[in-house]
Structure formats: structure tokens, C-alpha cells
């Protein structure tokens, strides 16, 4: 049967299993919107295209599926660029569909024309301009395949208006073959044996887990290995949730704002198993002093991640889950022959003592509300079962430090790009992915104003997203750097001219709460979480509280500033 480009597009999306589309219409995509009512796909109308791409990203992180957004040409397309780069840096599978001017006009500076394929080339895994309707179905199929396979990432498809209008015979490509793209999933058996032997020989082993464990659903195998072999676990910001945050072997996050125990463990380990992590500079500190005593094993699906920032002893290009399961299979039959518990006892004890010497902590106050206390209360009130999205800055670090994540896909945060304004639309996307779950955006007063317009999206879709603003009246993280490294020159970081967040919530038809007394925190938070619909809680926290521990940029991990 002959279908128009718009019909083919929607049919392909349906066959790819797309249920929700986050989008915003315009002239170049009006043909697609014209067909939308005939499709079973739900469209969520955002209020700014940045909201659409972050929502698609949040949907992907919470569900493990591909998130999709649809925007018009020109400004619609450029408004997604920050969100595309956000997804790219964190390896999140999203497909971005952008309208484009009709093919005969391309290159003529036509109305609302922009070379979005050129603009996004360095921040997508791949991108396409579909010039011929006969390629459309193939391209859509490839876009989804690329987005979710191997090291996931954003894929953009630019759709000229005339291609959406013409008709062709619709043929669904049953499989996708690409001669130039073959990610390697299976671990090399010899390398697995090498790693197993290193583990058997190690006295002070440590697992350093990253976002790849979450992507690959390798958390169960990882937990098995850690618990059976008695290996302490630390994770990056992106890896939080890959190992239960209440397990005695859990050390907390490592890196710049990592725990004392985690950073000391890195410094003293004789074997570090890096699993789906990319040795980011926020994690390693000064690279030359990172894990100075350790043999390094690096499991990663992307060969470019390996030997990029540090040189490792055993590289293993493979999917984390398959590699961890292969390790499990290798270790399980001989488990009895080795006394891992006894062998690692003094190391595990040592690590736990570090944890007790300098736990994550803060000075509780009678008069002001400590932001860390708010996150602790959120953890208690939600039993650690909520999906937590964050904005960027101090709020993000406190959420990472004080909420004990138990499950993967429950912590949604812009790690690599650090995009303020990410959290709230991501929470909206997550709520669509997990309608039954409590979704909370732990926000800063600065960041929340970057995509506050999505209140309308949340309210009109009756979403129960809760925004908890840790309101310090500052661009707090920048202020902290100014305090510590720039002589307290608080230039342009004071944000005390603010909207009334409670009234703002009400203006959008949502509910607002304000907390100003320590004694009220628990009660009002509880009330807010129990209030149906979208809620903003404006928590007035200690204004000049800092995030500790802190390793100054470029310093060694052991040079921690503590509380």
C-alpha cells in the first residue's frame, strides 16, 4: 500500500515500540502532526523544545528504552541542541526527529532553515538527512538500532517537509544490516580468565562501576560478584543505583565529591575493576596519582573509552553484563577453593573504618535547614524507592550523596554536560515511563528556572512530579568555588531576586509549599509528597552550605577537603 512519508514515519515508530513522543509542532512538521491523531502513539506537548529532548532523555533513563522527540525545523531544532549534547555525554538512547524545509529549498537560507545535521554532528552518535522517501523506513530503523545498541547515544533524523508529503510503497525492513557498525558484546574468554586470576591474587580489590553497568543491566551480576567475592564497591555519579546503597560493601560515590572511604580505597587498592566507567576527570582527579598501587582492569563496550585517559593493564571490550556474567561463571565453580571472605577481611575492615572515620556528614543546625537533611528526609519518606531526577550544582551532589539508591534507573542526572534545567523535564519523561512511581526533582533555585515553563506540561498531563527546591538563593556550586578558590568574590552568583515559587506553582494550577523551619521539614515534605499532582516545595536552606568532601579540580583524590 502507498503511504505518505508522515504515515510511514508514524508506522515505523509504532513498530519500534514507541509509546510516547515528546514534541512541539511547527510548519515543517505539520504534515506529521496532521497524521498524529490516526496513530496510537501518545504525544506530549511540551512548552519548549529543550523540555522535549530532556523528557525523552528522562524517559530513556528511567525505562531503559529509546526516548523520542519531535520538533520543527530551524529554532525548534536548535532548541534541542543542549539536550542532545546532554544525552550524548551520558550515552543515553534518544531519537530526535526534526522537521526540515522542503528538499528543493535546502541550502537557500529558506525560512526556518538550519543545517541541524551539521550543527549536531559532533554531539550525536550519528545523524541523517532523509532526502528520498524510499530511504525513510531504513533510516528510522537504523536510527533506533544505533541509538540503543553498543554504546547508546542520541541519533537525529532530519525530515524535509516534501519527503513527509509524497507517497511510496511502505516496506518494513525486517532487519538492520550495517557493514560499518558491529559493536562487540561478547567478552574474550582469555581476558576473562586473566581478570579472574587477578581477582584471585588480589588482596585489596575494588569495583569502580559506572553508567555502563546501568545501561547493560549488569547490576545483578555485579552485586553477585561483589557479595560472593567480598569486594567493596564504589560508583560514579552515573553508576549510582547499580549496587544497593545500604549494603555494607557500598562505599558511596568516588571522585571530586566522592566519599572519603571511596577515594581512600582507590588510593590503596591493589586491583581496580573499572566496569562501564570512563575515567572522567571529575572521578580521577590528577590522573597520574589515580589508583597508584593498583592493577587496572577496564571493561567497556566502546574501544575509545579504553586507554583514553589512563593506561590499563587488562582491557576488555565487551558488554558489562555479559562480561560480569562470564566472570561469575568463571569464578563460581571454584568459589569453595578460595577464602575470599577471610582473604579480604582486613581490607574490607580497613575500608569500613575509613567510612566511619569520615562518613558523609554535615553540621546539623537548630536554626537553619541543612540541604543534606532535606535529602535524608526524602530518602526516609520514600523508603529509597523514588526516582530522583536532579538539576545541576550543589543540589545534584547532595542528592547523589544522601539518597541511598537501591535500584538502577532511579537516579537521573546530567553528569557529563552538567546541564542546568535538565532535572524537571527529565522527571516528566520518567513519570511517563513509570506512571506508578514517585518521581522527585531535587532542584536548585537557579536551575529550576531554566525549564520552569514545563510546569504547564506536568500539570495538564496530571503528572505527580514533585519538585523539591533546595533554595539557597545562590548559584550555589559556583558560589562554593568562589568562596574556596576565588577569595569569596561572589560575582553574579547571588540569586535572591526570585519568583515566589509557591505562587508560581499555583499560577500553573499546581500546589506549592514553603518550608522555612527545621522542625517543619519532615511534616511538610510528607504532606507535599502525599499531595496529588504536580507540587513545588520551596525549602529555604542554609545559604552558604558547601558540598564536602571536595577534591579541588586537578588535585589528587586523597587531597580532600572535609567537613
Amino acid at each position: 500500500m502507498e503511504l505518505t512519508g508522515a504515515q510511514i514515519l508514524l508506522e515505523c515508530l509504532k513498530r519500534e515500540g514507541v509509546e510516547v513522543l515528546f514534541g512541539f509542532p511547527g510548519g515543517a512538521v505539520i504534515d506529521i502532526y496532521n497524521e498524529l491523531p490516526n496513530s496510537s502513539i501518545k504525544h506530549v506537548l511540551v512548552r519548549h523544545e529543550q523540555g522535549a529532548i530532556h523528557a525523552a532523555d528522562g524517559f530513556a533513563r528511567a525505562s531503559g528504552k529509546v526516548g523520542v522527540c519531535l520538533v520543527t525545523s530551524g529554532p525548534g531544532a536548535t532548541n534541542t541542541v543542549t539536550g542532545i549534547a546532554t544525552a550524548y555525554m551520558d550515552s543515553i538512547p534518544v531519537v530526535i526527529l526534526t522537521g526540515q524545509v522542503p528538499t528543493p529549498l535546502i541550502g537557500n537560507d529558506a525560512f526556518q532553515e538550519v543545517d541541524i545535521v551539521g550543527i549536531t554532528r559532533p554531539c550525536t552518535k550519528h545523524n541523517y538527512l532523509v532526502k528520498d522517501i524510499r530511504e525513510l523506513a531504513h533510516v528510522i530503523r537504523q536510527a533506533f538500532y544505533l541509538a540503543k545498541s553498543g554504546r547508546p547515544g542520541p541519533v537525529l533524523v532530519d525530515l524535509p517537509k516534501d519527503v513527509m508529503q509524497v507517497k511510496t510503497e511502505f516496506i518494513w525492513p525486517e532487519d538492520v544490516k550495517m557493514r560499518s557498525y558491529n559493536p562487540n558484546y561478547k567478552p574474550h574468554a582469555g581476558q576473562i580468565r586473566k581478570v579472574a586470576n587477578l581477582i584471585r591474587e588480589a588482596e585489596r580489590p575494588l569495583i569502580y562501576a559506572g553508567g555502563g553497568v546501568i545501561t547493560s543491566k549488569g547490576h545483578e551480576a555485579l552485586t553477585w560478584l561483589a557479595q560472593k567475592l567480598h569486594i567493596p564497591v564504589t560508583a560514579t555519579l552515573m553508576g549510582l543505583g547499580c549496587f544497593p546503597g545500604d549494603d555494607p560493601l557500598w562505599l558511596g560515590m568516588l571522585g571530586m565529591h566522592g566519599t572519603y572511604a571511596a577515594n581512600m580505597a582507590v588510593n590503596n587498592a591493589d586491583l581496580v575493576l573499572a566496569v562501564g566507567a570512563r575515567f572522567d576527570d571529575r572521578v580521577t582527579g590528577k590522573v597520574s596519582t589515580f589508583a597508584p598501587m593498583a592493577k587496572l582492569v577496564h571493561i567497556d563496550i566502546d574501544p575509545t573509552s579504553i586507554q583514553k585517559n589512563v593506561s590499563v593493564h587488562v582491557p576488555l571490550v565487551a558488554d558489562c553484563r555479559l562480561a560480569l556474567e562470564a566472570l561469575k561463571e568463571e569464578m563460581e565453580p571454584t568459589l569453595e577453593d578460595y577464602d575470599f571472605e577471610g582473604g579480604h577481611m582486613s581490607w574490607v575492615t580497613k575500608v569500613q573504618v575509613w567510612g566511619k572515620e569520615h562518613p558523609l556528614t554535615y553540621k546539623q543546625s537548630e536554626t537553619t535547614i541543612k540541604p543534606q537533611y532535606v535529602v535524608e528526609k526524602l530518602y526516609e519518606l520514600t523508603n529509597g524507592d523514588a526516582i530522583i531526577a536532579t538539576e545541576v550544582g550543589q543540589n545534584q551532589m547532595w542528592a547523589a550523596q544522601f539518597y541511598k539508591f537501591k535500584r538502577p534507573n532511579t537516579f537521573l542526572s546530567s553528569g557529563g554536560l552538567g546541564t542546568m534545567g535538565y532535572g524537571f523535564p527529565a522527571a516528566i519523561g520518567a513519570q511517563f515511563a513509570c506512571p506508578g512511581k514517585m518521581v522527585i526533582d531535587v532542584a536548585g533555585d537557579g536551575s529550576i528556572q531554566m525549564n520552569i515553563q514545563e510546569m504547564a506540561t506536568s500539570v495538564c498531563n496530571n503528572l505527580g512530579v514533585k519538585i523539591v527546591i533546595l533554595n539557597n538563593g545562590y548559584l550555589g556550586m559556583v558560589r562554593q568555588w568562589q568562596e574556596l578558590f576565588y577569595n569569596r568574590n561572589y560575582c553574579e552568583t547571588c540569586m535572591d531576586a526570585q519568583p515566589d515559587f509557591v505562587k508560581l506553582a499555583e499560577a500553573y494550577g499546581a500546589t506549592g509549599f514553603r518550608i522555612t523551619e527545621v522542625g517543619d521539614v519532615e511534616r511538610i515534605l510528607k504532606q507535599a509528597l502525599e499531595t496529588p499532582g504536580t507540587v513545588i516545595v520551596d525549602v529555604r536552606v542554609e545559604r552558604e552550605e558547601n558540598v564536602y568532601p571536595m577534591v579541588p579540580a586537578g588535585a589528587s583524590l586523597t587531597d580532600m577537603l572535609l567537613v
Partner: protein, 160 residues
């Protein structure tokens, strides 16, 4: 160290900017880049010469392989290969030195492709060292213009 990479790519719009963008975006250095068709109309080959230590070259090769439109990357530096560049030079020539220039042309088996009263246009092919030697020798006569093709390369046939 200088490396010569042979990069087989899908012949489609944008592939050159993907490759060159990778080099600029990641701060890798391109000394020369050459693209041409192959017998398969769907495939082109790029020859890229670049410089860097082992770790950088390893990253360049891996990053190139990661591009979706790149089919194959071979580092020809590590294997027996033939490397050739074509250069054209317009050199000042007068009655006093013309003979000497022609001697250089002869020794290096170059060709004179154009002549005027006070200029000779010389075409030379060769590997990097040879081209550098020719350019070096002709510099003292005054090179008015130079145009270089960049390197093309091919792996040698395996013996026997």
C-alpha cells in the same frame, strides 16, 4: 611520529565533514587528507597523514572506527606499503641556472610540465622523503608556487 592511515568510508554526503570534524573537535592534527573513489561506487578511500605519539594514534584510529560511516581503518605505517604524493612547483629559472634545475629534475625523475622565459613548472611524485628533498633542493632557485596532492597509499602485495 608520522602515521599514514587508509580509511575506507561509505561514499555519502557529509562523510568528509564527519572525519575532518573528528580531527578538529578532538584536537588531532591532520597533515594531509586525500579522498578518492574506488572501484565500488558506494565506497571511497581517504588517505590521512597525521602525527602523534602511540596513545594519540591509537585514539585516532579508534575514534575513526567509531564513526558510523567508516568501514575500515588501516594504519599503513605498521606494514609494508607504497606511499606517494604528487607535487607541482613553479620555480624561477634563468639562463644561468636552468641547466642546474633540469639536472635536479633529471636526478629525481621529475617532469617539466610547463616552461616560460623565467619559470619552469615541475611535477614530481614520490614518498614524503623524496618530496621534501626535491622541495629542499629547489628552494634556493626560488619556488614561486607549490601545490601538493597529499599522500595516497597502498599496502604492498604479500610476497610469494
Amino acid at each position: 611520529m608520522r602515521h599514514t592511515l587508509s580509511v575506507t568510508v561509505e561514499n555519502e554526503p557529509g562523510v568528509l565533514s564527519r572525519v575532518s570534524g573528528l580531527f578538529t573537535g578532538r584536537g588531532f592534527n591532520i597533515e594531509s587528507l586525500n579522498v578518492g573513489p574506488t572501484l565500488d561506487p558506494g565506497v571511497s578511500v581517504m588517505t590521512i597523514t597525521t602525527e602523534g605519539d602511540e596513545q594519540i594514534i591509537e585514539q585516532i584510529v579508534k575514534q575513526l572506527r567509531k564513526l558510523i560511516t567508516v568501514i575500515k581503518v588501516v594504519d599503513l605505517t605498521e606494514m609494508k606499503s607504497v606511499l606517494r604524493e604528487l607535487v607541482m612547483l613553479k620555480v624561477n629559472a634563468n639562463d644561468a641556472n636552468r641547466a642546474e634545475i633540469l639536472r635536479v629534475v633529471d636526478i629525481f625523475r621529475c617532469k617539466v610540465v610547463d616552461v616560460s622565459i623565467d619559470e619552469l613548472t615541475i611535477e614530481a611524485t614520490g614518498n614524503h622523503e623524496k618530496i621534501s628533498a626535491i622541495v629542499g633542493l629547489l628552494t634556493r632557485f626560488g619556488i614561486k608556487e607549490i601545490s601538493r596532492s597529499g599522500m595516497v597509499a597502498m599496502k604492498r602485495s604479500t610476497q610469494g
